[in-house]
Symmetry: C2
Subunit: 425 residues, 2 copies
């Protein structure tokens, strides 16, 4: 087994779960729709995938793919099960695009499913040797920001789009003065006509370096270097590095695995991954793939900081799903330093700190607040202090409202942002 790649598929079908599991194993290795002259027993033994286990689950009444497709319109019940399928290393190798093609991509084309989701992935050690993993990860992020014993507090230059470089730089000046550890471009900001990356870097980095000169604290600023053309992305990378920057936002799904591999091999920056588009792959709980599977690819490729959501996110993702993502990032794949720093964000402002800490029992995270910092009623500096106060309280086990009694910035946050979610947290 140690030389096999094992995938787990949650299969839903009006027909036989086990039959479809066997079909995945056959279609995704040697098979086609008719018997073949060259498909010898010896060849099959060498490269054929095989079903290792099938565990039946409760049937469901509605098909995950909906009732539009003819074969799903009539049945009143759909069988469910989880199947483990082993793919021999000899057939796949350690190439991640090969793995994605053979064990994941193609399976979704097979007829007969009413739902299919990839829920598990176990890789042989050879993958750990073949791929670089994070260059900076958790320890590098802490070292470069000088933060330990508490979350790295980050924020996003907002509005997401529309500020010209001097306006962005003015906002950054206010945020570095405010004591924030990390600042990023919104993931939607790359290099538009009104804010070319080169000009933005030129406007912002002197602010960061000047602040470092005066205070000794170098704020990590992650610039949006994403570009479709990997050569252009590398030029973006290089100009951030040359200007003294140390981080970049990368929209991993938009560029794809190849460009990520290309970048990582040449990178001198902390690569902060935004997974926009991931929701397409995962939002329906019976379709697509689990984050635990998805993140394996990007960690091997070398993501240093991985955006996930947070408790009471502004996005659709439920808390339980966020926590599964967090714990997936915390599990070493092959060694402890292949763990990226979890980036907890989306509608965060500090109010979620107690619930977050209670669930994760760690401060090894980047706590990313957009509007929660920049729209604080007493200004961004107070926003940063409020977030740090909330985390101090969370770690010490002090109720936020009690802590707010002698922490006016936190009190103002609770007043401004604290709905039922936060009180409950």
């Amino acid at each position: 087994m140690s030389d096999d790649i094992v995938l787990t598929y949650r299969i839903e079908t009006p027909g036989s779960v086990e039959g479809l599991a066997r079909k995945i194993a056959s279609d995704q290795s040697t098979g086609t729709f008719v018997p073949l002259p060259g498909e010898t027993p010896e060849l099959k033994a060498r490269v054929a995938a095989r079903v290792v286990d099938v565990r039946m689950l409760e049937p469901v009444a509605e098909p995950a793919f909906g009732r539009t497709h003819d074969d799903l319109a009539e049945p009143r019940s759909f069988n469910c099960g989880e199947a483990d399928i082993a793919f021999p290393m000899e057939a796949v190798g350690t190439d991640l695009a090969a793995l994605m093609t053979i064990a994941i991509g193609g399976t979704f084309s097979i007829k007969g499913f009413s739902g299919i989701r990839v829920t598990g992935l176990t890789l042989p050690d050879a993958f750990g040797r073949a791929w670089p993993g994070p260059q900076f990860g958790i320890e590098g992020s802490k070292r470069l920001t000088g933060v330990s014993g508490r979350p790295i507090v980050g924020t996003i230059v907002k509005p997401a789009l529309g500020l010209r470089p001097p306006e962005s730089a003015a906002m950054v000046r206010e945020l570095v003065e405010a004591g924030v550890d990390f600042i990023k471009d919104d993931e939607k900001l790359m290099s538009p006509a009104y804010s070319p990356l080169a000009e933005r870097v030129k406007a912002i980095m002197p602010v960061v370096l000047d602040h470092e000169q005066r205070t000794g604290k170098k704020v990590m600023v992650a610039f949006g270097i994403t570009a479709t053309d990997p050569d252009e992305m590398m030029r973006n990378h290089d100009l951030v590095l040359a200007a003294g920057g140390n981080a970049a936002v990368v929209n991993i799904n938009s560029i794809g695995m190849g460009a990520m591999a290309f970048l990582r091999r040449r990178s001198g920056l902390v690569l902060h991954a935004h997974r926009n588009g991931w929701d397409i792959l995962t939002r329906h709980p019976s379709l697509g793939l689990d984050f635990s599977v998805y993140q394996t690819f990007w960690r091997l490729l070398g993501v240093d900081q991985f955006q996930i959501n947070g408790i009471a996110a502004k996005y659709w993702e439920p808390d339980a799903s966020f926590l599964r993502s967090y714990h997936a990032l915390r599990r070493p794949l092959f060694r402890p330093d292949d763990r990226p720093l979890p980036v907890v964000g989306s509608g965060q402002w500090g109010g979620q700190a107690p619930a977050t800490y209670a669930a994760v029992r760690s401060t090894d995270l980047l706590y990313l607040c957009g509007g929660g910092v920049v729209s604080h009623p007493m200004g961004p500096a107070a926003g940063v202090r409020a977030v740090r106060q909330a985390w101090e309280a969370a770690v010490a086990g002090i109720d936020l409202a009690a802590h707010a009694a002698d922490h006016p910035e936190l009190a103002a946050s609770l007043e401004a942002f604290g709905g039922a979610d936060a009180k409950g947290a």
Copy 2:
């Protein structure tokens, strides 16, 4: 309007379709979850997306995302509508990763949908100037194979995985002798230990060139050059080209847009795109994105031959969906030569030729038969002849069974593969 990028979203929600359309426009340009100091009217006018039109559709009783999520568990009816949203070019630019991030990727994270699908995309002319499109496309594919007036007949070396290079070469020898125009590696075959690409090329290309020498016909062989690392993929590309090859299979979703841009810029090969994994994005008819939207990106990036399915495919895709994909590929984006050659495949053997031709009224396609050729009862050469006979009949409007009366290879195909589908076709 001509300077805007316009996306159409099919929105399904227990709440307000128009409200969610406005939320997409706001979240995906300037907005966050609280008002922002810098979000001035001038800035909004410059970069803000705006809802141009909302057309209500019939409500549905079951949410596309299923009933697992709390906000979708109770409602008995879900509102549906199509919304057109315009994004200013100044905010997005012509970068495809930026477009994907801003107008597609991020929208799927927004709370409140019970379903969301991107169904339309209209781009300003600047995109046509910014991207190369196909290098060879339809005309190049015809020229290099010497085929006109009928489909290019292609096949796949099977079994998909497991053959060693000399075994693959023996199969290729049989297929070129059989008169096939095009041969490809199965998309799952890249460069595994038992068949490294370099050895496969070395074994196969002499067979192709020898056949060309003797007959004047150069069969197009598309080798699986996909690799995660773009540098490695280029080395793969180069060794195919150096050996006299002229085509490559590229698993576009597995490598991603960046690696495709990288490859296209340097490519001397016909790039045959396999879209494995696309089904994840489209199989649920109310989630993900339409092929018409998806293919726009890959055509601009430079796909020369685009695999879609076919009539009565072995995969899940219904005929109507295949035909929409075909017609999407046939529509010029900005100019006639930005159209890749449609590759009609999946369970094809010739029996579907009449129905295919009746629907598409064109022979500008690569008709790709895997098992349908290599498993023909009289051997692959007969399989190729049977496919060409089927297309002759289809174009001439002759019934397949009638044509089979004096075409024994077609008769044998009908006997071996012709189920109810084919008879009906």
